[in-house]
Symmetry: C2
Subunit: 161 residues, 2 copies
DNA sequence: TTGGAAAGTCAACAAGGCTGACGTAAAATC
DNA sequence: GATTTTACGTCAGCCTTGTTGACTTTCCAA
């Protein structure tokens, strides 16, 4: 028996894993709650937020690229995208080189709502980061990245910074 | 200008906050994907997983307590709970002291499915924890806890170590 | 020139949230 | 003892957001 190695691996016990899993569950609820409240006032949902976020992050992205990032069907994305285009928050431009493609951009009102949602969400994350400190934040990022699928990790790294 | 403090607060810039937010989004997808695949085979969804998880964690918990933890309406929970009871995974016992209450327990088959789901989810979390190391895990937990609502933090701490 | 990729659309369906209303039993309170 | 509150269940209906399948149009590229 090696008491030392048992001590070192405390964070891998069933109990600790369960607590980590529960932490993800409860934290994710807080994570989405502030934007959710704003979206409700606009008659939008989380799917609209995600679309606005990633279009803002990669202006000119194609629908197909967005599908890969969001991991939903085109029918599902199209419904969300259509309402955003109809409401004048997103502009869909036919591709120059390849006219089958649609390139997506936020309009000024789209940018404005995205900013509002990001502010709300960032306020909570900023507070959490500040409270936890830089080393905790580094650990947080490290664990989250290790938790991603290979596919999602690719998308994650393809986004700037 | 203070270059030093700018350096120290790098993790609070807009870019870093956005990356933290995106990390949560992509990681949460990985986090739920393994149990989701198992649930599908049983004709269940994430809501069933959550119910099984928390009933397992607090055997004998009341419906009302579970409602608080899950943060959904009783109609929504009831639909899920009914199917689990009908399928013989959860047992609902009338309270001894207060007969209005229903106390919830996993049956052997309920325990078995919960174990299977937990194994799948824990495998990924364990691998992520192992890769990231104990200090990263501590930071991960610290940030997640700071991200929770007061209400959720209360629920989180009420669950046994 | 033709095959296939990209995009859009229609229809139908399911999970899982929600509100509102109603009923029942039991506990708590007046 | 009568009334009110609590805990739970249930019916009905609605919404968002995911799914599959089928079909069309456009248009690049082999």
């Amino acid at each position: 028996m090696d008491g030392h190695s048992g001590e070192k691996l405390l964070y891998l016990t069933d109990e600790q894993l369960r607590k980590g899993i529960e932490a993800m569950f409860f934290a994710y609820r807080g994570f989405t709650s502030d934007p959710d409240r704003i979206l409700e006032k606009y008659g939008y949902g989380r799917a609209h937020h995600r679309a606005l976020h990633f279009v803002n992050r990669s202006p000119g992205t194609t629908v197909n690229n967005l599908l890969g990032i969001l991991g939903v069907t085109k029918q599902s994305l199209n419904r969300v995208l259509r309402s955003l285009v109809d409401d004048g928050l997103v502009e869909s431009r036919v591709g120059q080189r390849d006219k089958r493609e649609r390139h997506l951009y936020l309009t000024p009102s789209g940018t404005s709502l995205e900013r509002k949602l990001a502010d709300a969400q960032q306020a909570r994350v900023r507070a959490a980061f500040r409270d936890a400190g830089p080393e905790a934040v580094a650990g947080f990022r490290k664990v989250l990245e290790a938790m991603m699928d290979a596919e999602n990790k690719k998308h994650f790294h393809s986004l700037k910074e």
